[in-house]
Amino acid sequence: MAFAMLAALALAIGVSACGSSSDSSDSTASETSGEGAAIVSNPDNAKVSLTIGSKNFPEQEILGEIYTQALAAAGYKAKSDLSLGSETVAHKAVQSGAISGYPEYASTALTSFFGLEPEDVPSDAQGAYEKAKAEFEKEDLTAFPPTPFASANAVGTLKKTAEKYGLENISDLEGVSEKLSLYGSPECRQRIDCLAGLEELYGLKFKSFHPVDISLRYTVLEKGQADLSILFTTDPQLSAEKDKFVILEDDKHVFPAGNIIFVTTPKVVAKAGPDYEKTIVEVQKGLTLPVMQELDARVELEKQTPKEAAAAYLKSAGYTG
């Protein structure tokens, strides 16, 4: 009986923080929409400041915004510090305490931080998560459970290029790659799930490698400068422009897919209380592959801001009012 009353009371104290970190400890009764407001603002969290970081491309910025807005809805003083740089820069930022945490792909963590060979990356999300978490704990970091969706690097090209050279798998590039130019991010050269892997594990040599900003990865294909470009499997352009771009099959499994795990420090976890992990784990449950692609499409194709896309997601999935 008492519990039912408590539940009814809690229902009545629904929160509508709606992504604004300025009214973080608001617990007024309000209308709820959708499936019911799932994130409740806890006044205890108001004294905790969190800074959520991200890497420097749209999918990461969307995730960063989702977590920031969700944590703000839970009552924290949450702010974002997005687009820090590549994984190494973000990694350093969380280690130094400049940020509280950021979303990382389990596969990237394992191959880039912990030196795992791509074939040793567990192909199941839970396995990869546990392995990454164990490694993070050795550096006094920790990670939260994974998102439903996973993303991976991919070698992409124009459909007509693929048809011209008969390219379906990356291995098909053998003997052909010497004639082709590859464009990727500057750090691609050193990453085993990027150029380094293509050279060492596929044994491919390219005519040239050109570092370009990640935002130009499709532009260089379209303008004809790049024969091949490093893309992401979650890219919205791949489904929106199916007739134009294709990605080659990663037959040697050099580009492991990674689910997002939120990397943070035990110190912040202790300071922030149980709502920290709970909120993050809850809010990412709706991020299935189609949903993430939809969010990516809104930002990359329609040029909405990551903030807007994140807010729309949180609202539609019923996390915020």
Binding site: Q190, P211, V212, V220, K223
Partner: protein, 237 residues
Amino acid sequence: MTVATPLFASFGGAIEFIFTPQTSNVTGGDTVGGIDQVLELALAQLEVTVLALALALLIALPAGLFFGHRGKGELVAVGLGNAGRAIPELGLIALMAAVIGVGLFNLTVALAILGIPPILVNTFVGIREVDRSTVQAARGMGMTELEIVRKVEAPMAVTSIFTGIRTATIGIVATATIAPLAGVATLGEFILGENVYGSNGVLAGAIVVAVLALVLEFSLAGLQRVLTSKGLKLKPA
């Protein structure tokens, strides 16, 4: 003193980066930096600057001489100079990369666009400021218009023309720093590539760019002094 020690550390690290190849303090396990790589990128930046400057000179110098000699189009020239100064270089490079595409040719054109206004305006104004009576005397002596430009007006306008060239060069070499946004590897690789080269690399890039720009500026200043005829030099500054 507490600020100074980390300061010396960061500049020290950057200087080391310039001269010694080292394992990147960011990506770990990869060799970056060192004098070879630094010189390679510095040379690339110099090349791009020279190319763009040449293109700008090719277009702006004759135009400035022609219109300056004729005395027509002062408003256009000055307006162009003003407009040129107002162009944000980052925007120009990014626009070129997004619309036309990355690559050396496109970059050279974009840089030349930045270099044309100062050369054009300063050449124009320099020619205009040549004493008209001198020009008349030359005409009276039977010189053709072309000869007047070549032998009378241009030499007397050298100071102004050179100032324009120096301004253009400073602008071009500065913008060539962000050439990696247009797919051309210059010292901007270090500056924009913290992911790869680390904070040491960024600072190192900034130092070398500054040195390169200053070397260019002093060389041009010296060249200007050599080319300015003695008669002009005797004039009060």
